[in-house]
């Protein structure tokens, strides 16, 4: 193969330009920008639920629905309370009528009356978004409409969500639902508009029994963080590897 000097130079320059051009698609950060991008936020929100204290009044669900403008009578909710009644025959009866919005006022579970003599134990378990460190719901979003903020809360961009429902299926905890009014995915965000203003989430504020509390894990002096780090707490569905950040005190093995 022969190649003239002119041809060689032409091809070499053309080749160089073709390789360098795609590089311009990258952004180059100054060292300060790079540090800022990977710096740890001073806040990592987490939640502590004390199932021993919950009495099933459902005030948290009511407050959540009102605060976050979730249609009150629609069968969807960002947080809910489950009732577990374990009977002496080893059966576990679970219910959560309307997510526990109106509290638990009847001893009947799904129209089945349970004899108090037959009950081994009974308890209430409030549930909400776990604001996972590895949120499965975010991984599956095809359009980048749901994401994790620097302080650990997973948010949904209502303008960007196309309502495909992948995230609703992906969440192992079933906390996501389809918002009947906005036609997008919706979920608990720890009342992001409140916690970023220094207020407590609506469910925490409305809980008269201290069963629900918010924590900032990056603040070692936070009393709730101290409980999470020093006491024996459990999370839901640890085996999924999502690293949930709602911690439970007194979690029973029957809770799913």
């Amino acid at each position: 193969m022969t190649c003239s000097r002119r041809e060689f130079l032409k091809e070499a320059i053309g080749g160089t330009v073709a390789t360098v051009l795609p590089l311009s698609a990258f952004t180059f950060l100054t060292s300060a920008e790079a540090r800022a991008a990977i710096a740890d936020s001073k806040v990592r929100w987490a939640f502590l639920v004390d199932t021993n204290k919950c009495v099933g009044c459902g005030m948290c669900v009511k407050a959540c629905k009102n605060e976050n403008e979730i249609p009150y009578d629609a069968p969807v909710t960002r947080t809910w309370v489950e009732r577990y009644v374990v009977t002496k025959d080893g059966e576990t009866h679970v219910d959560s009528p309307m997510g526990g919005r109106d509290g638990f006022t009847s001893s009947a579970i799904r129209d089945e009356e349970i004899d108090p003599e037959n009950i081994d134990k009974a308890f209430f378990v409030p549930k909400l978004c776990n604001q996972c460190d590895n949120p499965a719901c975010v991984q599956v979003c095809p359009v980048g409409a749901t994401y994790q903020t620097g302080d650990g809360v997973v948010l949904v961009d209502r303008e960007w969500c196309i309502g495909c429902g992948y995230c609703i299926m992906a969440c192992p905890y079933g906390v996501r639902f389809f918002h009947p009014k906005y036609k997008v995915a919706d979920k608990c965000n720890f009342c992001y508009h409140r916690i970023t203003k220094g207020l407590q989430p609506a469910c925490v504020q409305s809980c008269a029994f201290g069963a629900r509390r918010l924590a900032n894990l990056r603040d070692p002096d936070d009393p709730v963080t101290k409980i999470i780090t020093t006491e024996r707490v459990a999370v839901l569905k640890d085996e999924y590897g999502t690293k949930p950040h709602v911690f439970y005190l007194g979690l029973d093995t029957n809770v799913r």
Binding site: G56, G103, S107, A122, Q148, E159, L199, G210
Partner: protein
């Protein structure tokens, strides 16, 4: 190169260019990776502020105290002290600017949330004073006898 190769090639390149051009105009400027993970931090940055701007409805007891001093004072000393005003009275929102009066809920169902008897061993619920809804003064409102701000007091 032959035309049957070049033509579809130009078409494909043109299509990609068109899509990139449309993307340039349709995707907001603040859309991108805001954090250290492409998987979890790929989003529209402005949305964070949109959520922060969501209106607060539950203002909390301290804001009630500004006007309803006496009720808050009675309530503070009562066994009901941990129950937020807005739990029963509803979210105050912009009251009294927008809504002059909050609706007054006198229903039994409100009290029954905590005080309906459920006989559960080892449950905190069993520690609360409780009645059987169907057996205890069925037709009357609880608040016609018990003062909700301080249940130790009877209503005259």
């Amino acid at each position: 190169m032959k035309r049957h190769v070049l033509h579809p090639l130009w078409l494909a390149i043109g299509l990609v260019g068109l899509i990139l051009l449309a993307r340039h105009f349709m995707v907001p400027d603040d859309f991108g990776i805001h954090g250290d993970s492409f998987t979890y931090n790929f989003h529209r940055l402005g949305n964070i502020q949109e959520w922060k701007d969501f209106p607060v409805k539950y203002q909390g007891r301290e804001s009630c105290r500004e006007c309803h001093k006496d009720n808050v004072k009675t309530h503070r000393r009562s066994p009901h002290k941990n129950v937020e005003c807005e739990n029963c009275h509803g979210p105050s929102g912009n009251h009294p600017d927008d809504v002059e009066f909050l609706p007054l809920n006198r229903e039994r169902s409100l009290c029954m949330r905590c005080h309906a008897s459920l006989e559960y061993p080892n449950a905190a619920r069993s520690d609360l004073p409780a009645v059987h809804d169907r057996r205890h003064k069925r037709k009357r409102e609880c608040v016609s006898c018990h003062n909700p701000h301080d249940p130790r007091e009877d209503v005259e």
